[in-house]
Symmetry: C2
Subunit: 430 residues, 2 copies
Amino acid sequence: MSRPLRLGLAGLGTVGTGVVRIVQGRAGLLAARAGRAIEIAAVSARRRDRDRGVDLSGYGWEDDPVALAARDDVDVVVELVGGDAGPAKDLVEAAIAHGKDVVTANKAMLALHGQDLAEAAEARGVVLRFEAAVAGGIPCVKALTEGLAGNRIERVMGVMNGTCNYILTRMDSAGLPYDTVFAEAKSLGYLEADPTLDVGGIDAGHKLALLAAIAYGTRVDFGGVALEGIERVSIEDIRRAGDMGFRVKLLGVAQMTGRGLDMRMSPCLVPAGSPLGQLDGATNMVLLEGDAVGRIVLRGAGAGQGPTASAVLSDIVDIARGMRLSTFGQPAASLKTATRASAGTPSPYYLRMDLQDKPGALAKIAACLGDEGISIDRMRQYDHATGTAPVLVVTHRASRPALDRAVEAMAGTGVLVGDPVALRIEEIAD
Amino acid sequence: MSRPLRLGLAGLGTVGTGVVRIVQGRAGLLAARAGRAIEIAAVSARRRDRDRGVDLSGYGWEDDPVALAARDDVDVVVELVGGDAGPAKDLVEAAIAHGKDVVTANKAMLALHGQDLAEAAEARGVVLRFEAAVAGGIPCVKALTEGLAGNRIERVMGVMNGTCNYILTRMDSAGLPYDTVFAEAKSLGYLEADPTLDVGGIDAGHKLALLAAIAYGTRVDFGGVALEGIERVSIEDIRRAGDMGFRVKLLGVAQMTGRGLDMRMSPCLVPAGSPLGQLDGATNMVLLEGDAVGRIVLRGAGAGQGPTASAVLSDIVDIARGMRLSTFGQPAASLKTATRASAGTPSPYYLRMDLQDKPGALAKIAACLGDEGISIDRMRQYDHATGTAPVLVVTHRASRPALDRAVEAMAGTGVLVGDPVALRIEEIAD
């Protein structure tokens, strides 16, 4: 058996403590699988005296995480500090400079600085891996980078923020409005300190940008993700969508189109009977579509101590086994700058609006759609007692710009009460 | 870029032709990802003159697949001949002896000879990989061996024979008896030449034995899989199970218990609303439960040209990238011989029987269960007009031997008409 692989672990929060637990509690199993012992040499965290329920007495301690990078007794730096810059990035850069391999769970850092860090790692001959950064315990980075390496990837989709999926499914099942469930999620500790990272789709958008880079061999382009959060999803839309056989999910989609790379993270309607539609609670799901393999669906816990630590260990065991894979599955210098798709991929849309209850109102709305070449698949008008008529429309496939023009024209008809809601319907064949 | 990786491809059926298509059609993509070109140097098949719709003119040809192993222009032998012995095994042994890496889709060969072949490969310093042998395009071997390497695996489950799942779901949706759907599947070409490989659970049992070896670090023990096919599953049971909120699946389960390794491939009831219960048609699903990660669900096509070729390419790209992983995730010599669990894991059971329509019949049946310490969760008696009363029982958790004794005792009461049907209910928490 080779000499042990020695870790320098920065960050002893939930995930870091989880990594310590596995390294301590599963030492024999890890050594058998990795072909060598996996040991922690040194750790770093903000407070040394905090009781984390694990014994750290045998490890070196660094007040400054960056100091882990320079230690001779560290082979791999495990960065679990978080934050897109600051100490996390300083540590990773220092580790690379010192010739250490790096394992990180830091989606924000990689979504914003992944190209530079990957190039630096490759120039220095070290590996930089990030399984835990995307969809927690689901080994989706590995599945995409390695398992589907023989495929031209056609679409990557995912529900990758458990908090948003919790909020949406809780609104649905309990019939509660967004604000109530948001407050509930907050009191349960489900939300990031800055909740817009979750409900604004930013966190999930980071993850999508990382998967897209692997899928399409392109430089990570978080700025190219069209972001729309769940803050404006109403219980009304969840109910109406349900009536039409759909469920609302914060869905990330990345597709290479003839007009460039289309990446979006937005509330979408998906068929209620599909695996995505049936995904409840904080669970994550990643769907990978390849030209050879068809569709692979991966489902599991997207966060939490055990699942995220499991993903961190996957990267660590890979390194212990001698696997030296490029960060994004091919040399960073060979990644191309993707053209951003201007118009996005056409799809059906769900439209909900309130109309004034007077003759010809519906015809005017229908004409606005027809003028933009958008045909109607289904339309429903609901009972009403208040003088306004709630109307739902499911369109056939349309481009978003055409839809936006149609909605603008509707505003000019004078029959609308308030603004229409438009949600994309992501097409997922059985 | 390093020199090309050169393949010797044996077997040009559906999967072999699919591999040729990908290597030819995705050459640039593969080279970018693998860091080197992937080329086919030579091929072998039974008939040279058959038109397979791909151009083989640039490749060497061997009438005898085993001759591929000796060619100097071959780095990796890709074995897609099939069969647990004969030319497939001869080729793999020869390839190992000649120091060639091996990629195979051959579940039968590995389930029966995997230990010897893995030991031989390691002794010779070559790798022997088999992603395509289990669940087609789903990268489940990789997910288990690498993605979940930090977990003690608690249970491995899978629907891994698409033909059986097609038959069971078609019986369900069309209300057709087994024999009719079996004949239909046969005429559609869904069945192996020897259909008992499919419907007898043997093919799926091979796959389960391979996953269990990785999961538990044990020597492959196909003989230790308790096999029960779907031949005796009736439309009556599918309907009755449906009434109780279950669906019938040919489900493989491998668990390490206090009494040894429990492996079974048998028709089981699963909750209709669970991912397994909702799995229709020829799709496969693998569920991996780890102590850290919780449950990971993987779903995709379990067979077919593209999906299986995709899995073969995954192994090939791994090798091109320089990954040298043990066949079962740890050195073959370190795999332990598993004790076979004698009694299996207790579970609830579904029992269906016809009773003579006379007073006290139900009480006698209930007493037989009670005498074995088996308590009843739910019981239903259906309408009847024929003098016999159909009765369904869902028990609380019971051991199979206790259940078998109870059923034997029922036969002695004289109130049964025909034999009871007993099906395991696999417990899958949400």
